[in-house]
């Protein structure tokens, strides 16, 4: 059977060898004659999975032995929108948010439940097609929150705020895709379902020293310190999503880590953006300097070609490239596991109109 070219924005493509191993573990895990999903999460076999997943996450971000903890929690980035202020914002405190789209807006909404939010910059004025770079960080905020990549609009931050406040970043859609100095962040969170694994687990990387300073009574399940103390097993974790995340991080390490995959990602993005810029039938949505290497948004310049183009890419085995309803057009999500060959297939379809 021909493997589809899966450009889905998330949940999205995962490495084929990861899917194969995950499938096998469902019937027989570690040669135990038991399924991964029917053994105790307290068993030595699963505890080793959780430990390895946390360890690989820190290692790949070059944050091992630097005072950070890694957690695999439930609830997606959407629950982190609430957990961040719960754990970091003092009672009566203020926070600063850079609004670069849907996800930032949702983060702001939850933070407002716990304190004053200063929206220090926003690109809402042009439907979030750029990253605002001109802002001042008030002196009385505890932390600055940003979203590194915007799946819907196809923008990506290339530079991050330089500040003496805590720096918090939602990296759901580009974590593990490029080299950054991750130690500039105090708190990073990411839903797994882009570059890391299946839906159902969320990676949180937190600098230990920032916790315990809010004066708040934090509900147990929302308290990072409780999860750290219980080694990410305060309650039954999402066993399968954590296991597949571990497999994917292992795959990435074997590939050469974040630096190696960044080179591949650059080549993939260049191939597609070059076609968008050189083909008069297409136009990019995001401002050039803020273009995402993960989610490539583009539109047809001639709507009468839509039917023909849609037929072409469907015939080529491409799926998942319809744009988000708030942007329209097309969105090709080209995460870590996407081979450049699939992008060539898309480029071929763009050229064949």
């Amino acid at each position: 059977m021909m493997k589809k070219h899966n450009f889905s924005a998330g949940p999205c493509i995962l490495p084929q060898e990861v899917l194969q191993k995950a499938s096998e573990a469902i019937v027989n895990f570690n040669g135990l004659d038991l399924s991964l999903i029917e053994i105790s999460h307290r068993s030595a076999d699963f505890v080793a999975v959780m430990e390895k997943a946390k360890d690989l996450a820190l290692e790949l971000l070059d944050l091992k032995d630097k005072g950070y903890s890694a957690l695999f929690l439930q609830g997606g980035a959407s629950l982190e929108f609430l957990m961040v202020p719960y754990n970091v914002l003092p009672i009566g405190g203020k926070s600063a948010y850079i609004n670069t789209g849907t996800w930032s807006s949702k983060a702001i909404k939850e933070a407002k439940l716990l304190g004053e939010v200063v929206e220090i910059a926003s690109s809402k004025d042009s439907n979030f097609n750029y990253i605002p770079k001109d802002y001042n960080i008030p002196d009385d905020v505890t932390y600055v929150h940003c979203t590194s990549n915007n799946t819907i609009f196809g923008t990506q931050m290339k530079e991050f705020p330089i500040t003496d406040k805590l720096l918090v970043c939602d990296m759901s859609s580009d974590i593990f895709s490029r080299k950054l100095d991750f130690s500039q962040f105090d708190l990073i969170y990411a839903g797994a379902q882009k570059n890391m694994g299946p839906a159902g687990t969320t990676l949180v990387i937190v600098k230990d020293s920032i916790l315990g300073k809010t004066g708040r009574q934090i509900p147990s399940m929302l308290d990072y310190q409780i999860h750290i103390d219980k080694e990410s097993m305060y309650n039954t974790p999402a066993v399968f999503p954590v296991y597949v995340s571990m497999l994917t991080l292992e795959w990435l390490k074997n590939l050469g880590g974040v630096e190696a995959v960044e080179k591949l990602n650059d080549a993939k993005a260049n191939l597609l953006y070059n076609e968008i810029d050189s083909n008069p039938l297409f136009k990019g949505v995001a401002k050039k300097e803020d273009r995402s290497n993960m989610n490539v948004t583009f539109v047809l310049t001639d709507d009468s070609k839509k039917q023909r183009f849609d037929e072409l890419w469907k015939a080529a085995g491409i799926s998942g490239i319809n744009g988000h309803r708030s942007v329209g057009g097309y969105r090709a999500s080209i995460y870590n596991a996407m081979p450049i060959e699939s992008i060539q297939v898309l480029v071929d379809a763009m050229q064949a109109i």
Copy 2:
């Protein structure tokens, strides 16, 4: 390969045919040539899974078209401990809890963050080896909370409070295992990882009319009404755990539903309890009238036989029967998917000492 006899308390045994289908869906779901875990949760194929899972849950509990909604959320029962008071307890309100063990105690701890909790009964005085039945429900509480089955201590409620207050029940470890009048409850929640599926999703069944009456500002991810309005897709759900839950509920329906499985569960529990009661080397932990049909707790009456018994059950391919550290001895969890043949293997080992 010999299939193990898996008595794990949770995550636990699932039907073999469910594991097989789940394994296949990881490499090719619905004949799409795509993995279940790499397609969009908004795709028609996955939306159908979510709808079917919710529908089967209501159907099997005989709650269809009776004003209830079903949700598949993240965070486990532990997050529900917080969500219940957030969604049901008015500001300044009081709630009543029956404390039957570890899980009730944790539920009480979270509820206290949002209002006054009256612990109307507790069996803590004898390490939770019975279900307290003598209690008064104060007139000024909004709801009464109970835990239907206690995995750790091996007790199970046979009768539920009769009250004009809202009735809330944590059914994590015995939902779908026996016939009850489920319409006596206003709110039921259950982590999937016992009778329903793998860890990572939580079923919530809520009577629509009880919501929206607290006067509280509820964070989005903790708000049942938001999840209902978004059809359990407010954010990306735990795709794989929901899918496997759907498969398990389908398996249960084909088996004849809750009534049919209850007969099998009764036969299984009787076989094991009869051996415990007739074999002088063993003694049950829970009070007879409160014995759980899901988790059978027992100890050796002669500790010198421990090594011999442990060798016997291990040699027979049995796993997961060590008791919880707070009780000791043994715990055989005999959930829906456990065949009676496996229990016979355990009984044989008990007789062979």
